[in-house]
């Protein structure tokens, strides 16, 4: 229950961060640096999770299409499930575990070492210098990492189906996009933008308001991961409902 | 008796111990002094087998600890207690449970008996009646005292002190030194102490070993070391005592 109350505080924190993110001065260089770090830290873990999942979907897909005798559907099932749901979800989870926990731990350490206060005293707004760059970096990098991960999932699915599963190569490739609409691409982008934003806000919140020394920092990093995952998977249900209803 | 024979130790390219040989007699307080980062802790950890020498050997009561397997090491460790720099109390347990921990693990004493020993040891280190406190509620000096109570819970023959006074204010450091002297009078067992506190060393030591530049530059009775005319030693001690 306390988490629901905390969600209110997190929403206010999000509004405050957005306000400062869009008012000058802007720290472009710091933002770019954070984006590079997020990409560097997250790309391999996300691919490491999405690619094996592409293989699992293909494995089960093979059985389902055999039941119905529609082998040509296999690649569409793979691409649609990756684009709409699995790749954004897995990408969000791994980015929360990697980049979100890092952001929370860094901000928490700076808070504990009184560096945040030192910045304020030097006349630099911590929301602008510390939080806005991380928030923007996570929001923008999430779709980008997701796009790369999604392709890796399709490639690994292709390997499972065509190389190991004996599916006809032409049938697989020619049907890749036959059921994919523009809305599916958009739904992946919109979802990951939202996920990235949620991860950024929740992680920065728990890092910024850390309490209780070194152990507090560890707890903040863990809270950031678990609670951002709960929040964005909850939102995911409504996003999916809305996007699927839109697409028909 | 603890004996080092030609002990060498390096970490990567950094040589921390270079041909250390000495014998630590029973029933005395032996203090190793030297600036921090010269391998005093490593030397001490070799006694309990937490570190192994690259060359040479370490003997405890006729057992060569650097050659022993795990079971043998645990047999040796049963007769050794060690006080770590920050006490190394287990955070998840209260003070009483920490002191009782070795008793519960290694003896089949009944709870009543354990409670009696715990309060006795806590009284001995000057912390009576704080059984229910948690390690995070204690100051640095108190944590060291509880760590000492835990180290002597099994009535060991050898007690090792890793920097017992570092990080304490001068008054508290004096109090710990007094405690070490008093304990030695009561328990009559072998104490080995690491320190970089020169005045404290002269107060408590029976024997002094000076580690400098990864070598044992002097080792002997306290008076002998204090009277030494060796230029290096004179400079070393005067720099630290301000004499």
């Amino acid at each position: 229950m306390s988490f629901v109350i905390e969600l209110g505080a997190i929403s206010l924190f999000a509004l405050r961060s957005l306000y400062w993110a869009f008012s000058p001065p802007f720290f472009f260089r710091e933002t770019l640096r954070q984006m590079a770090r997020v990409g560097e830290r997250c790309l391999l873990p996300v691919i490491g999770v999405v690619a094996p999942f592409g293989m699992v979907i293909t494995l089960h897909g093979l059985q389902i299409v055999h039941i119905f005798g529609v082998e040509r559907m296999l690649s569409s099932i793979l691409v649609i499930s990756l684009l709409r749901e699995l790749s954004p979800g897995l990408c969000g989870i791994m980015m929360a575990a990697q980049a979100g926990s890092t952001a929370a731990a860094e901000l928490g350490t700076m808070r504990v070492k009184e560096e945040v206060d030192a910045l304020s005293v030097m006349g630099i707004n911590p929301f602008q210098y510390l939080i806005a760059p991380r928030l923007i970096a996570l929001t923008l990098m999430c779709p980008l990492v997701n796009a790369i991960a999604c392709s890796s999932g399709i490639v690994s699915g292709y390997i499972t189906a065509v190389v190991f599963g004996g599916v006809n190569r032409g049938a697989f490739l020619s049907n890749l996009y036959s059921f994919v609409g523009v809305i599916d691409i958009w739904s992946g982008i919109i979802k990951t933008l939202v996920f990235g934003f949620v991860i950024g806000v929740v992680s920065c919140y728990y890092g910024y308001y850390v309490r209780g020394g070194a152990e507090g920092v560890g707890k903040a990093a863990n809270d950031a991961v678990v609670r951002s995952i709960i929040t964005f998977l909850g939102m995911n249900y409504f996003l999916t409902s809305a996007l699927l209803a839109l697409s028909r | 008796m603890i004996e080092y024979k030609n002990v060498d130790k390096s970490f990567g390219d950094l040589r921390v111990l270079d041909h250390i040989s000495c014998a630590i007699p029973e029933g005395k307080i032996t203090v190793f002094v030297g600036p921090s980062g010269v391998g005093k802790s490593v030397l001490m950890k070799m006694i309990v087998g937490l570190e192994k020498p690259d060359a040479g050997s370490v003997w405890v009561d006729g057992d060569e600890v650097n050659r022993m397997d795990e079971r043998g090491l645990y047999r040796v460790r049963r007769k050794i207690g060690m006080l770590f720099q920050d006490g190394a109390l287990l955070d998840s347990m209260t003070v009483a449970e920490n002191v009782a921990f070795p008793l519960r693990q290694h003896t089949s004493k009944r709870e009543k008996e354990i409670a009696r020993i715990v309060s006795e040891k806590l009284a001995l280190v000057g912390m009576p009646g704080c059984e229910g406190k948690w390690p995070s509620e204690l100051s640095g000096g108190m944590r060291k005292r509880v760590g000492l109570a835990r180290a002597i819970a099994l009535e060991p023959e050898i007690v090792l002190f890793d920097e017992p006074t570092s990080g304490l204010d001068p008054l508290m450091a004096d109090a710990i030194d007094d405690l070490i002297l008093e304990m030695q009078r009561k328990l009559r067992c072998t104490f080995v102490v690491n320190s970089h506190d020169i005045p404290g060393t002269f107060r408590i030591a029976d024997l002094i070993g000076v580690l400098y530049d990864s070598r044992l530059v002097a080792y002997g009775e306290r008076e002998e070391i204090q009277r030494s005319r060796d230029q290096l030693l004179i400079r070393f001690f005067s720099r630290h005592t301000g004499r």
Partner: protein, 255 residues
């Protein structure tokens, strides 16, 4: 003049894997040769279960409902929207149940293990255990290992139940699928065998989660940053290795 070889990425990874292998072997040997007290195992199992149960349920609910939505719209393409029960049952019980339970235990209990053991390492408490002649594998790792082997398969059953239940709610009340059809589809395509296989998956995940998290904690770098690093590495390595393992297990069980 130093002639030490700089470790490359590959040798670095190989060395890590090798060290993990030795660590796991030692942990297994101590667990078998000197089993920990039943009380401490059950206490740990209770801790892991309670720590993770609520979040497993919440996440399982969201995942189940989303799977039903996706399945419904995907099958509607060729007029099979009433078959959504099959899709929900297969996807949830065979794959998502074990994965939800495993990933959440990794995120909650696994990180807690890594953080606790890393803190003990950093504060010198593991050395203190050894000096007190208490074997850290036996005292710290064996109980956690057995406890996660008990707790995770049980959490998998919870996750199975809740994902399918959420799928049912969404399919019947939001999408208007016939309740009887849905339940009949679930009952026909899923048997005890699938639930049991899911629990086996859970057991394998439990081993991996516990051994990887404890390993990262046990070999943590010094300082408070070391604890953070160990925790973070634990989650990420567990996620990747569990998902790869999941593919291999699925291939063996259902392939």
């Amino acid at each position: 003049m130093s002639n030490t070889v700089k470790p490359s990425l590959l040798t670095g990874v190989l060395a890590q894997v090798g060290r993990w292998g030795i660590f796991s072997f030692t942990a297994a040997r101590w667990t078998c040769s000197a089993p920990p007290a039943l009380g401490s195992v059950l206490w740990e199992a209770y801790q892991i279960g309670v720590q993770s149960l609520s979040i497993v349920c919440v996440i399982a609910f969201f995942i189940g409902s989303t799977i039903a939505l996706q399945g419904y719209y995907a099958f509607r393409e060729f007029g099979g929207q009433n078959l959504v029960g099959i899709f929900v049952a297969l996807a949830c019980v065979r794959e998502m149940g074990p994965i939800v339970a495993g990933s959440m235990v990794a995120a909650k209990a696994g990180t807690a293990m890594a953080a606790t053991i890393a803190t003990m390492r950093v504060k010198g408490q593991i050395d203190a255990l050894e000096v007190m002649a208490v074997n850290p594998y036996r005292y710290l790792i064996s109980p956690r290992l057995l406890a996660s082997l008990i707790a995770l398969p049980l959490l998998v059953v919870f996750a199975d139940f809740i994902t399918v239940f959420a799928g049912y709610l969404v399919a019947v009340y939001q999408l208007g699928v016939n309740s009887g059809t849905f339940l009949e589809n679930v009952a026909t395509y899923i048997g005890m065998r699938d639930v049991f296989f899911g629990m086996i998956k859970g057991g394998v995940f439990a081993l991996l989660i516990c051994l990887l998290s404890c390993y990262q904690g046990y070999y943590s770098q010094p300082g408070p940053e070391g604890v953070g690093r160990a925790t973070n590495r634990a989650v990420v390595s567990v996620c990747i290795i569990c998902i790869i393992m999941n593919y291999l297990l699925s291939e063996m069980m259902y392939g």
